[in-house]
Symmetry: C2
Amino acid sequence: MARTKGDHEARRRDVSEAVWQVMATRGFSGLTLRAVADQLRATTGLLTHYFPNKRALVTYALDLLEERTASRPRRPAGEGIEALRAALLDMLPLTEETTSTNRIWVSSWDQALSDPDLTDAYARKYAQSRATLRDRVAAAQELGDLPPGDPEHIAAGVQSFVLGLVVQALFAPSAFTPSRQIELLEEHLAAIAVPRPLEDPH
Amino acid sequence: MARTKGDHEARRRDVSEAVWQVMATRGFSGLTLRAVADQLRATTGLLTHYFPNKRALVTYALDLLEERTASRPRRPAGEGIEALRAALLDMLPLTEETTSTNRIWVSSWDQALSDPDLTDAYARKYAQSRATLRDRVAAAQELGDLPPGDPEHIAAGVQSFVLGLVVQALFAPSAFTPSRQIELLEEHLAAIAVPRPLEDPH
DNA sequence: ATATTACCGTAACGCTTGTTATGCGAATGG
DNA sequence: CCATTCGCATAACAAGCGTTACGGTAATAT
């Protein structure tokens, strides 16, 4: 071989990183074989040994996106509404890394909506995310942190809120700074939580 | 000329409709000169007389999208929180027409996020939409429909919620039927409204 | 040591894209 | 009525795309 096995493993990681970099800098529609090859300072001939065709590259890129989203560092869950709060904060583009990830997700929606199979896959992905939130909502209800009501509905509500906030923050990062995002999320959580005693009545 | 002035005006409308149809069926990334020409049963030579280059076509398409979004039929505003509710309902993909429009918007986010100028333009657009909502929030507060609090924040909150709900509904229309969307919006509005007397206490 | 195999660059292909030059016919204007 | 101008098709171009065939080089196996 031209390289040892260890080198080959390293090369695989290089390929992943190149795919990621291309998606982050040129968007999902900018994910092209030559762009990845250039990022690797290589040619398209290299990529034929890793992906049989373009569709395989796209599939791999989506898997990479999902994997890096799933394996990112997460806040400790805590109990009750704290666990819900942690899950929602983990979704927001509060850091460079999560901003990049969210940007790629949003930029992939165009192709996802054009491909029925991808549309279904995305729908399932968001449904699963919603299921996780639903469990945390139910747990928070058990502890009395959230008022009664269909946890599925409440989960869909908070998911929509966070998803929309992500989009807003990507387009106007200066108007939706990390602290502002957190502030808006806190206000939203406060609104759906059990009504607190009225503050400062007069 | 090959056509009279009236024919030319009609042709302009045909071009608009073709651009719209291409965006709706093939997504924003599928908006290509030949696709528009094919939709018109014409060639690219025709389009050179309407758009000097591709960028002009894209700009026109975005203007068309904005115009059709702005000039769509709207619910009567009503007073207080009713006006806010009407504005939010107008944003949801509840009909064939609004689904199509929202799909095009979402599919345009990829290119918009890749182009700094477009990113700014989109940020301004959403800021303006937020300003409209802010006024309605403030009016609703005046009438006591909404609790006190920075109307700018509350507007940002409801906008995020609706935006996220739009995305969810586009990916999973069967899980987010029109009635379900309305239900979720109602629950959200109820959550942020002034706390009602407890229902059915036992 | 020689043959084999894996890795990857080179280069070409057919296709689609935006762009441009050219030509023709029909409506317009003097 | 004829010259001009406009509207559009035709067609070619370079650039970028995914795909494929081919060679060469280096590590491995016999």
